[in-house]
Every structure is written in C-alpha cells, then in structure tokens.
C-alpha cells in the first residue's frame, strides 16, 4: 500500500517536471541575445507594423534587440493597466489606442514626452494636429506620440447608387439629403442605407464641438449630452429607423459582414482602414463596387488611431532607447509609409502626405484615388478632449439610443436620463 502511494507521488512529480520542462523548452527558441532588449507591447495589427520596422531598427541599433509582446486588443490594454498599477512587467514602449490614451493620460503613469530629454514639442509640426492634441492632457503634458490615425470616410456602393438614381453629392450634401437618398436606395434596390442608426449618431455628435470641450464632458467635467448636437443626432437616427433605413446589425458581427457580402448595406461610415478589411476578408467579392467620399455635411471625424508611449517606471537607460524607437516608428517616413502600404495604417506624419502613393488608385474602390480624399479629411479633423469616463458615456448613450429606437422612448427623457447617469460619475 505504501509502495503505491509513494509511486503515485513520484509519477505526479515527474509529470509536473515534464510539464515545466516542455513549457520552458518551447519558450527558449532564442539563441544568443545581444546586449540589450527593448520590450514593445502591442496588439494586432500594430504588432505587424512594429515587426516590419525591425529590420531598419536593427540596422540602426544592431546591439539592441526588440521583443514584441502582442495580446488581443482588450487584453492588451488591461495588461497595460495592470503593469502601470504596480510597475511590474512594464514594457519599455507601449502601443495605445486612442480610446485608452485619454484614460492613461489622466493617470500620470506615462512619461511626459514634451520634457527633456525627449522634447517632442520640437516635432509637433510634423504630426497631424488633432492627433498630437489627443495625446496632450489637460496639464499640457504630451504622454504619447501618434503613429497612425483613422480619418473618417463614407464608403458607399456605387452600383446601388446608380441603380437608385442617387449621386454622391446627394449622399453627402447634408444629413437630411443623406437620409432622403437612403429612402430612394431602399425603394429602388431594397438595400439598407446603413448598418445601424448608431453609426450616424456617432458622427453627428462629433460635429460642432466647442474647442476645449470633450465629446461627452467639458473641461470642468460638466455633462454635455443634452446639447443640440446630441438631440440632432438622436432625431436623425430615429428618422432613419422609422423609415427602416438601417439593417440593425452591429459592427463586426456575422450579420454585418454578411450584409457587405450580399450587398444589403449600401453605405458605411468608418475609418479609412475599413476598405482594407473589406478587401482582405469582409467582402472581397465586392471589389470595385465601392467608393469613398467625405462624410456628409462636411463632417470630419476620426475612427481609431494608435499611439506609442513610455511608462514612467521604465529604467532610465531603456527610456532613451524607447524614445529612439518611438521616433523611428512615428517620425521616419519610410516606416510610416511602409505601415500605410502593408496595414492600411494612415500616417500621422505629415511629411508623408506628398508621397506619390497617395495618388495611386485603389483597386478595391474601383481604381479611385481615395487616399487623396482621406488626406484631405485628416487635415480638417479637430481634436476632441478626452475624459476618464468617456467609454462609460459611450455605453450609456448607446443604451439610451437603443431605447429611443427600439422602444420609442422620448428623446428628451432619454438624454436627460443619460445626463443623470453621467453626472453621478463625472468626478470619479
């Protein structure tokens, strides 16, 4: 009996040791390591962009190896929050999406790049204005460097428009004409104008923001959701829903991609990068049928954007290297254009805008020179101040909009409810 017990312990120990050994073996694929390692934390597709810049980096800094740690989008940002909270496992450089830059900027865990020895302000004119402002917190500290931006664009199915006798001008002249065009498209082709009325709401609330104000809160944390732009956005969205012009499908769902594949969604407002996704996997069969234009009623908005930041807790020697790396990623024309060509990452570096690549026709968009359109948009986007509770406010407004659209809730009451909810948290 004792023998059995003893042997079973032995077996367990051996199994565990084997398990550990296997894990370690799989990890140690790196042969010899150079002098220093710089850790860069990123998420798809930024990880690809970083990796494609590595040959150039290794050329410039042959003794510094760059290790890229990639996680899924939300997990990455959670991991960054965790790392900043106790300074364990901090990467030397972290990639941040615009939605999170604001939150982290208020926190004070990121290096102020406007100070010495970085001096990013001397490069300020090289970056697209609004992106630079997005990385600046209310104390004037610049916590990150913009790498790519997402200029908003309207992608539309030109074949469906032609069939309904609608021109691009009709579509983009004003929001009202956009909706009217949608009615015609529905009648002639049966296709929906947009995927979800929420898409339209997202753009309209971004128009007419006073300088210094945020999307949902102003600089004093007062709640702005009862202002006219919200009311107009909700009213337009309701009109769209009432006239059955939206397909009620949420972005990135199976039904959404099916909608593109089958031509039941006629237009989509999104970042310029969406055309790349459509070409690659969303709806490659619809190649040539789409065109890009500016957003209706001369609206300009940004969808996404990547930044690079240096955490404060990083050792000083690495901070210099990290800054070199960030300069390479954001101020090097070759790297920026490379990312643009490979991953559809629209450059934040203004110098790249004279490159002939912009004038090249895009096959997916029927040989349209859409990048020129997007370049134009990029210069008109205005910065919107960020607030810690922005993502919460996003959810609240979307919930209230759903109630207005699905249950017929009154707009004034819905916005008042949202106002109340946001007021509770504005100062946390």
């Amino acid at each position: 009996m004792r023998c059995w017990l003893f042997h079973s312990w032995q077996i367990l120990v051996v199994l565990s040791l084997t398990g550990i050994a296997l894990n370690k073996a799989q990890a140690q694929q790196i042969p010899t390591q150079p002098h220093q390692t710089l850790t860069v934390a990123a998420y798809p597709a930024v990880d690809e962009i970083v990796k494609s810049a590595l040959p150039l980096w290794n050329h410039l800094h042959p003794d510094v190896e760059v290790k890229v740690v990639s996680r899924q989008f939300t997990d990455h940002h959670t991991a960054m929050t965790t790392a900043l909270s106790t300074s364990f496992y901090l990467p030397d450089v972290m990639a941040l999406e615009v939605g999170y830059v604001g939150r982290f900027a208020q926190g004070g865990g990121l290096e102020d790049l406007s100070l010495e020895p970085y001096g990013i302000k001397s490069f300020q004119s090289h970056y697209v204005t609004y992106a630079f402002q997005q990385a600046t917190n209310h104390k004037g500290a610049v916590v990150a460097a913009p790498s790519d931006i997402g200029p908003g664009t309207l992608l539309y199915r030109t074949d469906l428009l032609v069939k309904s006798g609608v021109s691009e001008a009709d579509l983009t002249q004003s929001w009202d004409s956009y909706v009217a065009a949608g009615v015609k498209i529905k009648a002639a082709t049966g296709a929906y104008l947009m995927a979800h009325a929420r898409d339209m709401k997202d753009i309209v609330i971004r128009t007419g923001i006073k300088p210094g104000d945020g999307l949902y809160f102003d600089s004093q944390s007062n709640v702005l959701v009862t202002s006219p732009r919200f009311v107009r956005a909700f009213e337009l969205a309701r009109r769209v829903r009432q006239q059955k012009l939206d397909a009620k499908v949420l972005a990135w769902s199976n039904e959404w991609s099916e909608g593109f594949k089958r031509g039941t969604i006629a237009t989509q407002m999104s970042g310029a990068w969406l055309s790349g996704h459509m070409n690659n996997w969303l709806a490659p069969s619809t190649r040539g049928l789409w065109r890009a234009s500016q957003l209706p009623e001369h609206s300009f908005a940004a969808f996404g954007g990547t930044f690079f930041a240096i955490p404060k807790g990083v050792p000083a020697a690495h901070k210099q290297l990290a800054w070199q790396f960030i300069q390479l990623m954001t101020l090097n024309r070759e790297v920026q254009l490379g990312a643009f060509k490979a991953q559809d990452a629209f450059p934040a570096l203004i110098e790249t805008y004279d490159d002939p690549f912009f004038e090249q026709p895009i096959e997916f968009l029927g040989e349209q020179k859409a990048r020129v359109v997007w370049r134009e948009a990029a210069t008109h986007i205005t910065a919107i101040a960020v607030h810690k509770q922005d993502s919460f406010a996003d959810e609240v407004i979307n919930t209230e909009l759903d109630k207005v659209l699905d249950r017929g809730k009154d707009i004034t009451i819905a916005l008042a409810d949202a106002q109340r909810l946001l007021k509770q948290r504005a100062y946390r």
């Binding site: 004792r2 199994l15 990135w252």
Partner: protein, 276 residues
C-alpha cells in the same frame, strides 16, 4: 428493488429521462461536430449535423493565433500542482481537525466553514492586488497556491476521517511507538484513499475549468490556461469560430474521458459529503 409500478409509469419514466439525457448530451455532440467544420459552414443554414473535414485546418488556425499547446501544458501543470498541494494540505488539516483536540479548534473550523459560504467575487479584486504586490501576476503559482487552502477539501477530509478511522487505531499506533507524522503517512493516508480520490478529481476538474482566477492574474498569452486562451480567441472582430470550437472540444475532451472513467467514484464521493 423497484417500487411497485402501474401500467404506464415505466415507459413514461424511460421517455422523460431519456429525452432529458439526450438534451444534456446534445451540446457535446455539436461541439465536436462544429470542431470539424469551418467558420462559414458553422454559420450556414442548415447548420452542420455530422462531422466535416476541417478539423486539421481549424487546428492550424488555432495554433497560429495562440500558443495553444503551451496553454494546454499550463492547464495541465496548474491542475496537477493544484491537486497535489490540495490533497496534501487538506488531508493533513482534515486529520488534525478530526482526531485532535486543541485550542481554538472549533473557532478555526467555524471560520473556515464560513468562508465556504463567501461568494467567489469577494476575492476577485483583493486577490489581484495581492498578486500584483507579490509580483505573482502572470505566474502559474498565483493559480495553484491559493487554491490549496480549500475549505471544501478540508471539510470533506474531516468528514471522512472522523467517520472511517477509529480513534483506537491511532491510539494503538501511538502506543506502539509510531511517531505522529508516521501515523499520518502510514495509517491515515492509506485509509483516506477513496476520499483522496474524490477530492483529487474534484480539484483537478475545478482547476482545469477555472476561468475567473486566470482572468484576474494572467496577462500574457503564453501563460494563459485553456479557458482564458479560448476566450481571447473570441475577439469582437473576426472571430475564428471553427478554431474556437476545435479549441473548446480539445479543452473538454480530457475531462470527459476522466469523467467516464471515474464517474461512480466522483458522484458517490460528492454525495456522501452532501448527505450530512
């Protein structure tokens, strides 16, 4: 011995129970079927009912997107370590509670039992912070060490020891000159085998399936256990459903096999604990 039945009852019973069993097992069937289909096939009308040919393709995508075999390795490692530690600590503790009298015994046992009633979410945030401060974030020890102090485990052990091991046996061994630890090793442990088996199974299964724990403390994909790895595949954009199903099937299979081999032991062990 069956209770005396009237005419219709047995067939009604068979039917109801049978249909119920099928409903219980159907999702498993579909999990394995879907694992062999590609994403577009899974989401088509009609949905696939029989096995397909895409298992290897899905496996490919799975290993591309995730260090899947590493995640499997971690799940195994953490489950084994967790089981081993829990068995050792809880058997020692249960024996101590059952066979000895000492100060604060009842208070301590009461405290331990009270924590069994505590909801698991109470520990979510402080555990994260403690692990953060200890520097155990992203390390497997953050998963198997805390769990070793299992209130349920010590309860089960105590019940078993006090009901199956006579005090005189221990006394006799003591008088024969056997040291305390020797008594534990040579007399108590062998007699505890059935309970150890049950607790071992329960702990292994719980550790394998544990999701919240790794969610809180793991941060790098190379260190994820299986449930966390599967969920990280579930991105809002472009979910690879075929690969996800394959991963789920692989995560479920070892437990199903383990369960089929040990169901009687597991169920009877659980119920003796429950029927106080």
């Amino acid at each position: 011995m069956a209770i005396q039945s009237n005419r219709l009852a047995p067939w009604a019973a068979y039917c109801v129970v049978g249909i119920g069993a099928l409903i219980m097992l159907a999702p498993f069937y579909f999990m394995f079927v879907f694992a062999t289909h590609s994403r577009t096939e899974i989401f088509s009308l009609p949905p696939p009912m029989f096995f397909g040919y895409d298992f290897l393709a899905n496996l490919n995508i799975l290993t591309e997107r995730l260090p899947f075999w590493r995640n499997l390795g971690w799940s195994l490692y953490v489950a084994i370590a967790s089981t081993a530690l829990t068995l050792v600590f809880c058997s020692m503790g249960g024996y101590a509670f059952a066979m000895f009298e000492f100060r604060y015994k009842n208070a301590l046992f009461g405290l331990v039992m009270a924590t069994m009633l505590l909801p698991s979410f109470m520990n979510m945030i402080p555990t994260f912070m403690i692990m953060d401060v200890l520097g155990w974030i992203d390390q497997p020890r953050a998963l198997y060490i805390p769990g070793a102090a299992s209130a349920f485990g010590i309860f089960l052990m105590r019940q078993f020891v006090s009901s199956s091991i006579p005090k005189d046996l221990i006394e006799a061994a003591r008088m024969d000159g056997c040291g305390e630890f020797g008594i534990y090793l040579r007399i108590v442990l062998p007699l505890l085998k059935p309970a150890l088996g049950t607790l071992g199974l329960i702990t292994f299964i719980a550790s394998w399936n544990n999701f919240i724990g790794p969610l809180i403390v793991m941060r790098s994909p190379e260190m994820y256990t299986l449930p966390l790895a599967l969920r990280s595949l579930q991105s809002p954009v472009n979910t690879e459903w075929g690969a996800l199903m394959t991963g789920s099937a692989i995560a479920t299979l070892p437990l199903v096999v383990l369960f089929i081999l040990s169901s009687r032991q597991l169920i009877s062990g659980l119920t003796t604990g429950a029927v106080k």
